[in-house]
Amino acid sequence: MYTEKVLDHFQHPRNQKEVENYNGMGMVGNAKCGDIMQMFIRVNDDGIIEDVGFKTFGCGAAIATSSMATEMIKGKSVDEALKLSNAAVVEALEGLPPVKIHCSVLAEEAVKAAVDDYHKRMEEKAGGAESGKPADEPEVNGSAEA
């Protein structure tokens, strides 16, 4: 039912961790459907995803697609990460059973959610600086994140 590639990523998930000092986090899916994916990214000043990690509650395909998605966006720019499609994840895993395609969609959405969160944080930071009001988070944390 699963390709060797899927089983490999299931057994040896890449980047299965909560990234230290992440500055983008997305969580998609819900427990009712049996899949929740949480994606963490740390983007550097050049807009490059220098570290990425995931946590997933779900089936073998959910874990494997999360793992593959992290590999595919690591070292890429956030703009490139946004272009990651579920089809590309499926292809990289050498296929998924039809009933599991939604897992790859979830992986794509998790990446997008993490990048969106990163952009939001950046805007908040910039907005806070422009208006002269203090940012929600103390400046020390902000610089630690960046």
Partner: protein, 386 residues
């Protein structure tokens, strides 16, 4: 790698004695039992013997046994047959929310045809009571169909009590006993059962064969038309090797049934007792005592069933789950949801069903492997904060 099969509720290994009994009927004894010549009559005698074996196992008469393709066909024949034949008497059927789909989907079909079906809710253990059945009964109730024991969580229903009530109220009583035959003592007379479904491969018989017991005096229209086989109750040339194998298998299963059950219960209870000591936050699904001797079903919170099954399989252990990902739909098991589990907890269920060949060593291996799997998967779960 050593492989441990703990999915005996899905199917069982064919007993060598059953295979031995079947072999001649797949080779040199090939006549059609409907033929009057020697070749046919030789086979007709084998069917008679199997009918006696099956009837004897549940204290029925041989004439009350109809051979067919399996439990699903037996459920369909009983429910649709009563509905069609007794529609003039009434169009109300009582069943439970936790039946096998062979029963539930058949009831849904009848609803589309204008019948009314009451789906009795179950308690947290997956149990219905005789009082619930009594309260649901109406003047137009024609059939009560309640499973003998649940395939997912192993809960044993109060069948003798429901049987007595139905007999008193003159309502037909069918039970899907696919998980119970060959595992629990069954006496259709003492338990007032009018119809009972069974499946050969659930008690170490072959696949593709089952039987419906129909109490003498009840006439059901056949589901399959086309011939006078099974005394006009099920058309089509009989699956002779399958029937012969099922007959031998049921005889073997019922020989020392209680002793084998006690042996499995010891191992079952060891798993039930020790898993929570090794895995925090797990929940036993099903009744603690009124359950099949071979059924263990736990929900491991914060993780998902298919992942557990894959990891177990990689360690050589075959189990099953009620998670959506193993059912091909988006919803987890209707049985677990009916018992009040949240979707999240239902997704984390793992069912292990033993056979009398399961050893203590097998159980110890599960006790060693499963906690490590739970820990590993929890480590990747965003729901787990432990």
């Amino acid at each position: 790698m050593k492989r441990i099969y703990l999915d005996n509720a899905a199917t069982t290994k064919l007993a060598p004695e059953a295979l031995e009994a079947m072999m001649p009927y797949m080779t040199e004894i090939y006549g059609n039992p409907s033929s009057p010549h020697y070749f046919g009559q030789q086979v007709a005698a084998a069917l008679d013997k199997a009918r006696q074996q099956v009837a004897g196992a549940i204290n029925a008469e041989p004439g009350e046994i109809i051979f067919m393709s399996g439990g699903t066909e037996a459920d369909n024949t009983a429910i649709r047959g009563i509905a069609e034949r007794y529609a003039k008497k009434g169009r109300h059927i009582i069943t439970t929310a936790v039946e096998h789909h062979a029963v539930l989907h058949t009831c849904k079909l009848l609803e589309r045809q204008g019948y009314e079906v009451t789906y009795l809710p179950v308690d947290e253990y997956g149990m219905v009571t005789v009082d619930q059945v009594r309260e649901a009964m109406r003047d137009d109730t024609i059939l009560v169909t309640v499973m003998f024991a649940n395939n997912e969580v192993g809960t044993i229903m109060p069948i003798p009590e429901i049987g007595a009530l139905c007999r008193e109220r003159k309502v037909f009583f069918h039970t899907d006993a696919v998980q119970a035959v060959g595992h629990l003592p069954i006496d259709v007379k003492a338990m007032n059962i009018d119809m009972l479904s069974m499946s050969g491969h659930k008690f170490h018989g072959p696949k593709g064969v089952g039987a419906l017991y129909v109490r003498k005096g009840i006439v059901l229209p056949p589901l399959i038309e086309g011939g006078a086989q099974e005394r006009n109750r099920r058309a089509g040339t009989e699956n002779v090797p399958g029937i012969v194998g099922m007959g031998r298998a049921i005889e073997l299963a019922c020989d020392g049934l209680l002793e084998k059950g006690e042996k499995m219960k010891l191992l079952r209870d060891k798993l039930i007792r020790e898993l929570p000591l090794r895995i925090p936050e797990i929940k036993l699904n099903g009744h603690p005592t009124m359950r099949l001797p071979n059924n263990v079903n736990y929900s491991i919170k914060y993780i998902e069933g298919e992942s557990i099954l894959l990891m177990l399989d990689l360690k050589g252990i075959a189990a099953s789950s009620g998670s959506a990902c193993t059912s091909g739909s988006l919803d987890p098991s209707h049985v677990l949801l009916a018992m009040g589990l949240t979707h999240e907890v239902a997704h984390g269920s793992v069912r292990m069903t033993l056979s009398d060949e399961t050893t203590e060593e097998d159980i110890d291996y599960v006790l060693e492997v499963l906690p490590r799997i739970a820990e590993r998967l929890r480590g990747m779960s965003p729901l787990y904060k432990g």
